[in-house]
């Protein structure tokens, strides 16, 4: 990651040099502080809510403000959560849930979506950027139109497809589960694809033809030139794409709920559907444990923001060093 960032920083530094010399680097410090203050103030409520959620996951009650100081903190909620004691039944008894399986399911969906999105949009983006084929423009416009379509609006038709196509598998439970995963991943990935393909096309567009030609002249085949010369230059783009696709898969509720949860009669859960289940009967559920689930659910997003902060910082300092 850091190496990627460095490379991108170098490319950016060079682009900046070409266009505006050192003007770009001479931002006034006062303006930067002002900007930071405004942005900070605007995002304060959000940050506070997240913070309260994370705190609650360690507390014996859901903390909402002044009670921060009164609550007692421990790792109990997290231990209960990982033991699967998430839904209190009667007294001190719990119906147990397989938390590790749930996390694994979530990861499978997220990684699956990532793989499909990255693979497809890298290939399609390259084709749209570099190859001249029939219907190229038409297809590109069509893809943008698809992007404008909300995923929820599509779900009835997609559900019909699901029911119809999974009919032959109904007898075998294992096949049904596998199919539910595959269908969820493909359906969720297709929602991400239009934007990703356009993004990737943009990244490929920025590589001058001459660089690719140069590789051909140096003796590389078209495939090798693509793999060794073109692809490394769009790595930052692929990284960004992968992060967004992973988050989309990890956080998805609607598609996961319809195809994976309902499709397997509630047997296959992800974090999103688990939390949905737990909060459905909010009177009986022990909310601090749900807060732990929620924190875990949000962890990739939080990690992503922390990481890209670091990435950005490194990118800029790397750019200055160069």
């Amino acid at each position: 990651m850091a190496r990627l960032a460095l490379r991108r920083a170098r490319a950016e530094a060079r682009a900046a040099e070409r266009v505006m010399g050192d003007v770009e680097t001479l931002r006034s410090a006062r303006r930067a502080y002002l900007l930071a203050a405004v942005l900070g103030a605007a995002s304060l409520p959000m940050v506070l809510l997240y913070l309260l959620l994370v705190l609650s996951s360690f507390a014996d009650t859901i903390v909402t403000g002044p009670d921060i100081l009164e609550a007692r903190y421990s790792l109990d909620n997290w231990l209960m959560f990982f033991r699967g004691e998430v839904a209190p039944a009667a007294g001190r008894l719990y119906t147990t849930a397989d938390i590790l399986a749930t996390i694994a399911n979530t990861a499978i969906v997220a990684l699956g979506v990532t793989a499909v999105v990255v693979f497809t949009s890298v290939l399609a983006g390259y084709a749209f950027s570099r190859m001249r084929f029939r219907w190229r423009r038409g297809l590109m416009t069509f893809i943008i139109l698809l992007h404008a379509f909300p995923g929820v609006a599509l779900i009835i038709a997609v559900y019909a497809m699901y029911v119809w196509s999974s009919m032959p598998l109904a007898r075998s439970e294992g096949a049904m589960v596998a199919y539910a995963f595959a269908f969820t991943v493909l359906a969720r990935a297709s929602l991400e694809l239009p934007m990703s393909i356009w993004l990737m096309k943009g990244f490929f567009d920025r590589i001058p033809w001459e660089v690719e030609w140069s590789a051909l002249i140096d003796g590389a085949s078209r495939l090798r030139a693509w793999w060794q010369i073109v692809l490394p230059q769009v790595k930052p783009g692929i990284a960004a794409l992968a992060i967004f696709a992973f988050l989309a898969g990890w956080e998805d509720l609607i598609y996961v709920h319809v195809f994976l949860y309902i499709g397997t009669a509630g047997k296959v859960k992800t974090l999103a559907t688990l939390i949905e289940e737990l909060t459905a009967n909010i009177e009986t559920s022990y909310l601090p444990v749900v807060a732990a689930a929620g924190t875990l659910y949000l962890l990739p997003t939080i990690l992503f923001f922390v990481l890209t902060q670091k990435l950005l910082l490194e990118a800029y300092s790397g750019g200055l060093k160069a």
Binding site: R7, R10, E210, L216, D218, Q233, A322
Partner: protein, 369 residues
Amino acid sequence: MVEVSLERVTKRFGRVVALDQVSLVFEDGKFTALLGPSGSGKTTLLYIIAGIYKPTSGRIYFGGEDVTDLPPNKRNVGLVFQNYALYPHMTVYDNIAFPLRLRKLPESKIDRKVREVAKMLRIEELLDRYPSQLSGGQQQRVALARALVKEPTVLLLDEPLSNLDALLRVSIRAELKRLQKDLGITTIYVTHDQAEALSMADTVVVIDRGRVQQVDTPQNIYNRPRNLFVATFIGSPPANVLYARLTEKNPSLACVEVNKARFCFEGERAARLSRLGGEEVVLAFRPERARLGTEPRSDMLSIPAEVYVVETLGRENVVTLVVGASMVKVVTPPSQVPRLGESYYVLVDPRDVMLFDPVTELNIDYIEA
């Protein structure tokens, strides 16, 4: 190491005709300079030879082999792109080593070759850097190194020295020429620098709007341009052009009149002039082949003119004079600094006068009888 020949090659981009029926032979082991104004099709020609573009029609041969349908990676050409096209994610070392690694040479041999060529182009200290950390001239030398390291049979250079300072350019130019001769690589060199082209090349090709204008030795390109375009494109300042009236059209004596100055040609020249269709002829002469005199001379074309501007360049002066409705430039020695408004005669030896058919713009010396 091979002869490159093009046979009636045409390249169209939609409605733009970038190359129009170009037939050329680049001799084996020779250094050919390709000269032409911006947009004349020089880069397109190089790309066609390299195999990046497919010609719309026509064939390309390397030696006896028809390579028209051969992809670029099978042609063993070296190409230095106008914008260098270095691989931004690789160090200078890896950039230069890339073509050798594709050939699966042992790493020790690659290392030796890379360092050798880096030394020649004086980029040894840059080997660990990335292209974005280099100046334009340094990037250019890296591109040159990458093209040379694989010892191509054909070397194509698209303005490879344009970003170097004068001193470095002269020395790299000499190295390049030396290396080209030693290795016997057939080289085609695109440049905007005419002095460079005329001094380095065995053959010069002048191209304009996708058509070959002249293929000749540097001397002939300079002294015997085939048409008006070549005469006015080559040289700095370029040749002066004046429209003259043909007052006498005998095969033994043909006279021209320009701005009330009359001059008569005899012999071969007269015969050629007499065969011209119209009553007009285009006169051209090089500024450095004309002199300024106070009196007309009977053995020279002597055109009365008035001084308009004088540029003193130290080693010489460039004097612009008004002749009728046209301007001519004359190079004078530093000792002769005419004053504005003074009247002179522009004196040109008849052997230095070039004559062109006003319709076809062809030099009459090249018109077949």
